[in-house]
Amino acid sequence: MTLLAWGFDGLLLLGLLGLAWKALNSTDLFSAIALFIAFGLLMALVWVRLEAPDIALAEAAIGAGLSGALLLAALARLRGMEGNVTSNTGVEEAPNNIDARLVQWLSAILLLPVLFGLVYGVLSLPGNAVGLSAEINANLAASGVSNPVTAVLLNFRAYDTLLEVFVLLLALIAIWSMGSIQFNRSIETIGKTSLETTSSVLDTLVYLLVPVLMMVAAYLLWVGAHAPGGAFQAGSVLAAACVLLLLAGWPLHRLLTAMRLRLLAVAGPVVFVSMAAYSLIAEGALLQFPPEHAGTLILLLETVAALSIAVTLAALFSGGQGQHE
């Protein structure tokens, strides 16, 4: 049993490193992205082996799903542009001249001490980690939830999550400042290959899959209180549903007009900040919830945060695709 587990872990880590190497050094950009998507899948398996199913869920939704879609869409638009401007279509400049070789070797040699330093640093650590598990378990009863990761994210260190929803909002504002502020009407024609017409198979897939995605998102949100899951995972799955609708060319901009989109995107930060301000005044500490209401407050906070995260991620996907292109 142990031997098999060792074999599994060893193969997993070797595969992970091999995929990373190939993704970073393959000949063309498309295979780099395909390998990166596979890398995300293996990464989720690694989190499972490290007994971190919460992270595995987030990685499965984002690393293996959303970022792949993001990268593929960006590559398509890049190719469309480069087709107009230069002849270079994604095939990368091979390091064939002396200069590039030199840079490669120089970088490798200079990074060797970094590698050895880091390895030495890790190996010289004491064999036993001193973590915060004991403190978390001692206070879990007062947190309103029984999943320790959710307790950390939404109660003990809720300011992390507060700042994080602002990071998402900032990224969205930055992207919007370079493009249009809505799910663009013409999005399905940008970067899309002209060979694809509307397809009934794709429509059926979207019909069936989007409701399932929404149900799974609601389930993850609910289950996050006592088992792996929570606002980020639910938000990412919901965002995937939006991305699927956008990819299939459904008129999502009619449901989520620019105004509604903006309102939903700021709903999470606003609710978070007002909750923080209230707790600061009433409880005397930032984002400290009274134990008897903590469960309800956390669920409310998570629901709004998940909606905001979903809308923001979907808008990040379609973002910057302004009319001027």
Binding site: W21, I33, L50, A58, I62, L132, A174, F232, I309
Partner: protein, 101 residues
């Protein structure tokens, strides 16, 4: 397998990513490199937190890494849009080479 091997793999990912970040000129490749470096850092963080322990895994690094994954994807989205802007302006998705000729 002990947590240390996972941590070492994390270091490997970080160094591979850093190398690619320096060596490759194309910005999309640099964005992939930064993402892989980030995965490596998360791996080190979580693996080291559970070393030598048969006890429950520590939830704090788990929560941090989940936050990190979401931040990484939003940063990636922003970086991709910036790259597309640059490509639209200059016609190439590489940083301008301003070394003295």
């Amino acid at each position: 397998m002990s947590s240390f091997s996972f941590a070492l793999a994390g270091i490997g990912l970080f160094v591979l990513g850093l190398h690619a970040l320096i060596v490759h000129a194309h910005l999309l490749r640099k964005i992939l490199a930064i993402n892989i470096m980030g995965s490596g850092v998360s791996l080190v963080l979580v693996a080291l937190a559970r070393r030598g322990g048969d006890a429950l895994p520590d939830a704090v690094p788990h929560a941090m890494v989940i936050t990190g994954i979401v931040v990484a994807v939003s940063a990636t989205a922003l970086a991709l849009v910036l790259m597309l802007k640059l490509a639209a302006e200059t016609g190439s998705a590489t940083l301008p080479d301003d070394s003295p000729e």
